[in-house]
């Protein structure tokens, strides 16, 4: 504690008010910015989802026109992935990685600030695109050519937004990797790092490897649109499918970029509330690495219907199925951690269990999709939509909720209201399944995705799903209330609110965590 304020170097002047946030180089401030930004974008993307669900409440066109519907689908996907989920976990990384590995801050604090402050302009470009002639990009978040070549200037705004988001992710990742590799406290060797830190190391590596590839893909789209290249046009020897290869070379690792930090959070929360060390730490590290490596070899499972040669279909199917093995290892390890523990069920643990249960379901539907012939039936139907909401909403988003409840006391020094937290969990859990479970049936029955209107046999499940979506959305407004209430008037948190939590931020730092922690590195035995 004394070490903390002993050295006041480097902060000669402290801007106050909004400029404090705009110019900050403190990892905790930046983490906070990321988290609030992410939640805001979650609301924006969520409102778009609600527009989608309103249109799909009944057959027929009632609420929006088909073109606007497609814009909503596209922006919903882009904003949720790049604006909500990814920044949320970068926010966690900013807060936690220095604290958990005993570092004074991130390795490049100023660049850290830039990584964050690139997000608002990118988001702004996406939002502006809604209001330009022709509207926003309407080709789905996958931005498949050549539909993207037809679209209006909204597409160009989207392309530049993706470029800027990519820069942000790359800089953020460089920072995270460098912090982890170079700023750990003495004695904190790699195999002692908390799993959350490990998962981010791997994620950051994935990000640096694939974000530039996405930038390349959209750059080719841009030149096809405006400068007469023929990357995605058969007349010039190109191929629309080329775009899909490049996109999914990015896109499949991307889904693990979303999932792996979520695994990390859950791997901190489950042992804490089981009062028992994580089972199979070493195999967790290896499993996560294998998932990351395999993720580069499976991208074409999104493209089984483009008409690849049979050998290619077989290769991608086998490789994809293989990912179930390391992921299974993780699932088993989590269950084994709970086994013979001394379990309690505070809100973070509830969300972690919800994650475990539902993510595994999503994993299994992924496995069903990995079987090429079955995927040919289910590709581009609501079954896929159900699959990825299970892994991304019940997976990543639940894990983010678990993380917020888990670390909020450490960040703010105040406890959230446990009763309300449990309500939030149960409402979220129930409405999530109401919304997305029925989508499996829609997909099996053959309802295509990205359509604003559908045949009559799909009507009842769509109605259920839409009702669920509104319930789910409202539950998240309730989450906002819980967090604000905790920050404003929550009870003061004890130094160690969670008996079983034993990483550095709990054992070596006071609660709430001081503005500067570990300016003198702690020594880990």
């Amino acid at each position: 504690m004394e070490a903390v304020h002993a050295h006041e170097h480097g902060h000669e002047h402290h801007p106050s008010g909004i400029m404090r946030w705009v110019t900050t180089t403190n990892h905790k401030d930046i983490g906070t910015l990321y988290l609030w930004f992410s939640f805001t974008m979650f609301m924006v993307g969520g409102v778009m989802a609600l527009i989608i669900r309103s249109e799909l409440f009944q057959p027929g066109l009632q609420v929006v026109n088909p073109d606007f519907f497609n814009q909503m689908t596209t922006l919903h996907g882009l904003i949720m992935v790049f604006g909500a989920i990814m920044p949320a976990f970068v926010g966690f990384a900013n807060w936690q990685i220095p604290m958990m590995s005993g570092a004074p801050d991130m390795a490049f604090p100023r660049m850290n600030n830039w990584s964050f402050w690139l997000l608002p302009p990118a988001a702004l470009l996406l939002i502006i695109s809604l209001f330009v002639p022709g509207g926003a990009a309407a080709a789905g978040w996958t931005l498949y050519a050549p539909l993207t070549v037809q679209l209006g200037m909204g597409m160009d705004l989207t392309i530049f937004a993706v470029h800027i988001l990519g820069m942000s992710s790359i800089m953020g990742s460089i920072n995270i990797i460098t912090t982890i590799l170079n700023l750990r406290a003495p004695g904190m060797n790699m195999m002692k790092m908390p799993l959350f830190v490990w998962t981010w190391l791997i994620t950051a590596y994935l990000l640096i490897a694939v974000m530039p590839v996405l930038a390349g893909a959209v750059t080719m789209t841009l030149t096809d649109r405006h400068f007469g290249t023929h990357f995605f046009n058969a007349a010039g020897g190109g191929d629309p499918v080329l775009f899909q290869h490049i996109f999914w070379f990015f896109g499949h690792p991307e889904v693990y970029i979303i999932a792996i930090p979520a695994f990390g959070v859950v791997s901190q929360v489950i042992p804490a509330f089981s009062r028992k060390p994580l089972f199979g730490y070493t195999s967790m590290v290896y499993a996560t690495s294998s998932i990351a490596i395999l993720s580069f070899l499976v991208w074409a499972h999104h493209m089984y219907t483009v008409g690849m040669p049979v050998q290619a279909q077989l290769f991608y199917m086998y490789a994809t199925m293989l990912i179930a093995v390391p992921t299974g290892v993780k699932v088993f390890n989590w269950v084994a951690t709970m086994w013979k523990g001394s379990l309690t069920f505070e809100t973070p643990m509830l969300f972690a269990i919800g994650f475990l249960f539902l993510f595994t379901m999503g994993g299994f539907s992924g496995l069903v999709l990995s079987i090429t012939p079955v995927d040919i039936q289910l590709h581009d139907t609501y079954y896929v939509v159900a699959h990825f909401h299970y892994v991304m909403v019940a997976g990543a988003l639940f894990s983010a909720f678990a993380g917020v409840y888990f670390w909020l006391p450490k960040w703010t020094g105040r406890m959230y209201d446990e009763t309300l937290g449990k309500w939030h969990f149960w409402l979220t859990m129930i409405f999530f399944n109401v919304t997305f479970f029925v989508q499996h049936f829609l997909g099996l029955a053959g309802m295509p995705r990205r359509i604003p209107d559908y045949a009559l046999q799909f009507a009842d499940f769509n109605m259920i799903s839409s009702i669920g979506a509104f319930g789910f959305g409202l539950s998240q407004v309730f989450f906002l209330y819980i967090v604000l209430k905790a920050i404003r008037s929550g009870e003061k948190s004890p130094e160690r609110p969670w008996e079983g939590a034993d990483t550095l931020e709990w054992t070596m730092l006071p609660t709430p965590a001081p503005y500067h922690s570990f300016e003198t590195p702690p020594v880990i035995k």
């Binding site: 057959p59 027929g60 009632q62 088909p66 073109d67 497609n70 080709a139 789905g140 050549p146 539909l147 037809q150 649109r225 046009n233 058969a234 191929d239 629309p240 499918v241 009062r275 028992k276 994580l278 089972f279 199979g280 730490y281 070493t282 219907t305 483009v306 008409g307 049979v310 279909q313 077989l314 199917m317 086998y318 293989l322 093995v325 290892v329 088993f332 269950v335 709970m338 086994w339 013979k340 001394s342 379990l343 269990i353 299994f364 069903v368 079987i371 090429t372 012939p373 079955v374 040919i376 039936q377 581009d380 099996l444 029955a445 053959g446 295509p448 990205r450 359509i451 045949a455 009559l456």
Partner: protein
């Protein structure tokens, strides 16, 4: 393993129309897919129940509130190896039947007939290339009236899944479908027949099916293709071979009747009448029947510079389309249709060009 497979293969044999599962399969491939899905689903459910019974047991018995003290073990190499290896073998058990199905699906050799399905924004065009019915070609548009979509009239039974001209095929024959597209990606999907194949502009891809029973099988475009992606259904009508022969004869005679002498001179009234039909069938999705379009995405033709300017430029634009916009080439229409639609555009709504285009002129402008 094999036991489980057989068990659920059998369960799959009684496909009732279920609202919770794949559509009842109507082709050999669809049947294999159905069984494969059942197999994988059941294995997954068993593992799921297995894994989570451990978790729920722990949740009930190993909770602090019942006084359970935490054990401190945190690894066990034997178990860890077991639960890495066993899933691996389970996966092999799934991959084996899947591989067989993939190979069967991809085998498009020796078809009894070949049909080319060309996707347009937003309709399908079919050309019977080989086998009985060779030479037949037609377009297939959504048949559901706008009023039903907008809700001013009650929705019919096959709402959004009905077309003016279905693809007719004989049952029990191997039909090879070639897909391609005129503008952007689309996909030709008929779930009950187990086919889905992307239609890619500039490339031909293929797939095949064999309908086992007569019936009407409905599907939709399954790749986002712009505004009316939700409104380009596919209907396959599988009929007994004799009825198929009958249909072929009828289709051929209809097609013969509509062929016009290329040098025929049309009157303005004839062209306007034909043009209105062609316009409604091809152009109105974007430019609207009122000619007002949906600016800025789809320009108004009413008062458009092209539609009121020199007629050659107008014909050329429709013939070759405009690169990098939704305005595709319409060279697939006949000379007469093109002449008619251009004439119609030049003399409808507020446009008063007053001139008319003859099929021969269109022919001359084709390269």
């Amino acid at each position: 393993m094999a036991g489980i497979g057989m068990l659920f293969g059998a369960a799959g044999a009684s496909w009732a129309q279920s609202r919770y599962n794949l559509q009842p399969p109507q082709s050999p491939i669809a049947t294999q897919i159905y069984d494969l899905h059942m197999l994988v689903l059941v294995i997954c459910v068993i593992i799921f129940v297995g894994v989570f019974s451990f978790m729920f047991y722990a949740i009930v018995k190993h909770r602090k509130s019942v006084g359970h003290k935490a054990a401190q073990f945190h690894e066990n190499t034997t178990v860890e190896i077991i639960w890495t290896v066993i899933p691996f073998f389970i996966l092999i058990g799934m991959a084996y039947p899947a591989t067989k199905t993939i190979i069967a699906m991809k085998d498009t050799s020796t078809p009894d007939m070949t049909i080319k399905a060309t996707a347009y924004q937003w309709k399908w065009g079919y050309d019977y290339l080989n086998g009985e019915g060779e030479g037949i070609s037609f377009f297939s548009n959504l048949a559901t009236p706008k009023a039903q979509i907008e809700g001013s009239r009650p929705k019919g039974q096959s709402y959004l899944l009905e077309v003016d001209n279905p693809v007719v095929v004989p049952v029990g024959r191997k039909v090879r479908i070639l897909t391609t597209a005129n503008d952007v990606l689309h996909a030709w999907m008929v779930p009950a027949l187990g086919v889905k194949q992307d239609a890619i502009p500039g490339f031909i891809r293929d797939t095949w099916f064999k309908a086992e029973k007569p019936g009407t099988y409905r599907g939709q475009c399954a790749e986002l293709c712009g505004k009316d992606h939700g409104f380009m259904p596919i209907v396959v009508e599988a009929v007994e071979p004799e009825k198929y022969a009958q249909w072929v004869a009828e289709a051929k005679s209809k097609q013969g009747a509509s062929v016009v002498d290329p040098n025929k001179q049309f009157t303005l009234a004839e062209l306007m009448a034909l043009g209105e039909k062609v316009f409604a069938g091809n152009c109105a999705v974007c430019h609207l029947a009122s000619g007002k379009g949906m600016p800025p995405a789809f320009p108004a033709l009413n008062g458009s510079k092209v539609a009121t300017g020199p007629k050659d430029a107008h014909v050329k634009l429709v013939l070759s389309g405009k690169a990098n916009t939704a305005m595709a080439s319409f060279k697939q229409l006949s000379d007469a249709d093109l002449a008619a639609v251009v004439t119609y555009e030049r003399n409808s709504w507020g446009n008063k060009a007053g001139d008319l285009v003859q099929p021969a002129e269109v022919k001359a402008l084709r390269k």
